[in-house]
Symmetry: C2
Subunit: 295 residues, 2 copies
């Protein structure tokens, strides 16, 4: 189970705060059989000030747990962080299928991230994550392939993201996820991937999005090792429980690892597989086996 | 069940195509109990050309089905479209709770959209959807509140989106959703909403995102009446089945309506409610009742 993970917070002049989700347990209308929207019941929104120009930067915590079977080689994920401008974060996940061809899947992802780290301030990149992926991919000579995501934050609060494959990024604001990237795949368990081979994807396949980061937001980035094993509501809960980025990153990575090791846990990956009519054969179920996100 | 819906396609010099998802039925590895990523198996990505400057515009189809109990008043949703620049689309969903105060929930959403439509080319708006929401909200004098989403496409392919509440937008590319907005809510069934009251949200609460639209993309926008009743995989399937925007919009709206009227259909809304520990009481279940997205 690989899960490099970043937890980032814009922390400018004000104190960074993580708000808990509003409890709905006592709401009397929730047992209606027809949905009926309620009137707003919140405080005025003036307290929501958009991060102003020149002020935003990222408070970063990271934690990586390699797959138990890949500890000796350090796992197949790689990442880098940079404090350039508002901050740059990136994750690459080496495609494990290369091991079947006696290729270490970690080499490609590590070299890709090393080049990306060195190219962050490159003139041609012009702080554009898709261009950074283009140049880092072109510079990578290792055999293999990897999914990759890069996010670059401007000081004015604009975070630009380029994503190829099934790494991901969530923005948590006031106890809810207000932005998420979407994974790209050819079919189940075959994600879009930057590759040393001609059939792979390129920077042109990256989904390019931007999101306006606000004061106090938390950005959670990880490989699918995180998002296959931890539900969004769990990410929100953990983010709301820690003020320290490093502690929260460690807690999320540990939660993903624990879920991946729990054969009884019905993970997001397992649920998605069933929703798409994939599951273990009946005879494996009798043996207590199940489709899991453990990788 | 209210579902104003847009299906938009960037159609520049080339022919617009909707690709079906790649079948995985015969994949031999899907019964493994451990997830193992497969190597890429696609054609090269050179065919993915980013929409070039000056070329992109939206081919629009719309379809609205009012809630059966609200047909006489035309429902509580409103929307507008504009061909300005690459195109502008917007949806507002009047908050039904106002009916309890003898206020027609449709008035606020309709006036909001009317002002937004008139302000699209306003100098101060500068083609920024959050500013458009700010000015349209300020101009709206009706009592009530509404969720709202506005998307504005530049000719260079950049679509900027401002969203307050639980309307939504998906971008479908090559048989998969590559971008989705995230709903904002105070608690279950109480979405963020622009309001005539001081406690409501403002443009500052809007989640502001952008996505780079590519040739052949399909953009699906709707109120929660669509997304509470139709799964993402169903949206992808419908989008892949029609070349005509109007036909696809009608098919999606009809599917949402049919699901909302089917007491046996386990909708996205029903599943989300259960995941958050909300459901009908046991004695209602005995009577065959269930929590549904029918509104």
């Amino acid at each position: 189970m690989e899960s490099p993970l970043f937890k980032l917070c814009s922390s400018i002049s004000c104190t960074k705060t993580f708000l808990q989700p509003i409890s709905t347990v006592n709401s009397p209308k929730l047992h209606s059989i027809n949905k009926r929207k309620k009137l707003v019941c919140s405080a005025p929104s003036d307290s929501n000030s958009v991060c102003s120009g020149g002020g935003v930067f990222l408070s970063i915590g990271t934690h990586l747990i390699p797959h138990p079977n890949k500890v000796e080689k350090g796992g197949e994920d790689a990442f880098f962080i940079s404090s350039y401008k508002g901050g740059v974060i990136a994750v690459a996940d080496g495609v494990s299928g290369w091991a079947e061809r006696d290729v270490n899947p970690a080499l490609f992802s590590r070299e890709l991230m090393a080049h990306a780290s060195n190219l962050v301030e490159d003139e041609e990149v012009q702080y554009d994550p898709r261009t950074l992926i283009k140049k880092a991919h072109a510079a990578t000579s290792s055999t293999g392939s990897a999914t990759a995501i890069v996010a670059m934050l401007e000081r004015n609060g604009t975070m630009k993201i380029a994503n190829v494959g099934d790494c991901g990024l969530h923005v948590v604001r006031k106890g809810q996820i207000v932005f998420s990237t979407s994974p790209q795949e050819h079919y189940f368990d075959c994600p879009y991937q930057l590759s040393s081979e001609a059939v792979g994807q390129t920077y042109l396949d990256a989904t390019v999005t931007t999101v306006e980061i606000m004061e106090g937001d938390t950005v959670v980035m990880g490989s699918d090792g995180l998002f296959d094993n931890v539900f969004a509501r769990e990410i929100i809960s953990v983010v709301g429980s820690y003020n320290n980025s490093a502690d929260a990153a460690k807690a999320l990575a540990n939660l993903a690892y624990d879920h991946s090791q729990n054969s009884k846990f019905d993970s997001p990956y397992s649920q998605e597989a069933r929703a798409r009519d994939f599951d273990v054969p009946w005879w494996k179920k009798i043996m207590g086996m199940k489709l899991t996100g453990m990788k």
